[in-house]
Subunit: 305 residues, 2 copies
């Protein structure tokens, strides 16, 4: 996401490095993984992702506890694994049938379809394993797993993908779009913010003791998640494949139900700005401590990929 | 599994009823599931499965604590969800490409391929969600999730499926077969037995305090799991599709690496008997309390589907 000021970009890059190292080390520790699966997992996880969800986990922990911590890094890696699995499965021929992702051939193109299905399954499973086995505070681990499973499951991300597939070639309404984007994307952003907040609270010995903090982070996460997805829709019609690292114009080609298609580009940009504004509003109780999340909301508006 | 004495069958049927009710109620509680996904999940979960893994969870809990309990019922439902997801994905065209499962059209035949992929993903996710959210003892929940994820992940069931696909049309060795069956099937049986034991120990306030019990259950589970899979291989060549509820002769047709193909039917039966014997041996420390597990080992030897 190049523009936004360079201070913010170095903050984001620092988080991306932490998440990448955490992912590498978690994968390396899994000594018994079947070797061809390991290659597919490493491939999918090392493709240059934006790591926005995982950075959001770390920053939300910082907002609550003053710094990120081991638990937040595990949760960040877990949400990145879940996000990556969802990309692998969404790109499959039976789903969105895409050849390019994060600038690289999609997993089923680089390997084969069976390997891609299994690699996705393995990443989803591993996400839950690392949270359950690497976070010593079992109450925190159980709460994180509950949040992550709900956000990514059949009442969350998977519901969004299902509705998205079904909406292809339909006229589309704003309500249908909101359902798709909320479930497919925004609930995972909300989950990231809440998971980070929980890790911060646990560090202070105050797990779930201040629900107001979690509510604020949840509202923030949902709003920027929705804004992020609308920005994605806009970029699909306005940017090149090279900029995006995935096939541009794909939504139009697949007759996907998107904001620009349903309400037009100008109105889409207006909704996006309003969402960033609402997201920033939700952070009031944190005062200056949440400045980095305000910058993130701003950066998402201005992103070019 | 008709033969085996009728007392054992009524014990098994009682457990199957408990598991089916638990699955129904867990699915009904998920009020926000996307409706088409709910139909696919309900379809896959209600197909008449043998429920051996989930019965094993309940019985292992009984062996340790004298009765099964709420935690074991949740764990049993979770392992059945994971098993069901694995069947849905294994049956996909890119994998084993099968049309019939548990006597019913496979999920991608009854719905479509995208729905089957997503339904499998949703079941896997839901399995972890129910353990994390419905078991109040967070230490137990975290341990169960760790066990379930390891058994079913890229160093377990998924590794077995990957190796199984790769072994098609190869000559096959006993070592390769053991790797496939141990990972694809036996580790999940071991996990079932250990999860049940953990739930029993937690009930007595002795979670992980008696590792000898868990070791014995783990050894038992691994042996009957391997025996179960060899029995499956034998049935594939000796039984009809009607008996099996899935396409008979499919392994031969797909040039799958199976025990009968590699060592012959007689030797396969001998190995199967030895495994049942070893499984029963592992139960010594439980004395008479483990009789039902001894009957299960016997029944698996004699099963006709």
């Amino acid at each position: 996401m190049p523009p936004a000021d360079s201070d913010f970009n170095s903050l984001l890059n620092a988080k991306v490095r932490i998440v990448n190292l955490q992912l590498d080390s978690l994968l390396a520790e899994q000594s018994e993984i079947q070797e061809d699966l390991r290659a597919a997992l490493a491939y999918a996880l090392s493709a240059p992702g934006k790591r926005v969800r995982s950075a959001l986990v770390l920053w939300s922990c910082e907002v609550v506890a003053g710094r990120d911590n081991h638990e937040a890094r595990i949760a960040a890696a877990a949400i990145e694994m879940v996000h990556t699995y969802s990309l692998i499965h969404d790109d499959l021929p039976a789903m969105d049938d895409d050849d390019l992702r994060r600038g690289w051939p999609t997993c089923h193109k680089a390997f084969n379809e069976a390997t891609a299905i299994l690699a996705g399954d393995a990443l989803l499973t591993l996400a839950f394993e690392v949270v359950a086995s690497k976070i010593a505070d079992a109450c925190l681990a159980a709460e994180l797993i509950t949040q992550l499973a709900r956000a990514s499951g059949a009442a969350g991300m998977i519901a969004g993908q299902m509705a998205d597939l079904q909406a292809e070639n339909t006229a589309g309404t704003v309500e249908a779009l909101e359902y798709i984007h909320t479930n497919k994307t925004a609930k995972m952003f909300r989950c990231a913010a809440v998971m980070g907040g929980l890790c911060g609270q646990a560090e202070l010995g105050r797990l779930k003791a201040e629900p107001g903090q979690l509510d604020a982070l949840a509202r923030y996460g949902l709003k920027i998640g929705l804004g992020f997805q609308i920005a994605d829709d806009i970029l699909d019609v306005s940017a090149s494949s090279e900029q995006l690292g995935k096939t541009a114009g794909k939504d139009v080609q697949a007759a996907k139900c998107t904001y620009p298609a349903v309400v037009g580009i100008d109105k889409s940009r207006e909704i996006e700005r309003q969402l960033a504004h609402d997201a920033i509003d939700a952070l009031e109780i944190f005062e200056k401590k949440a400045d980095v999340l305000r910058q993130l909301a701003q950066a998402l508006l201005e992103r070019e990929k």
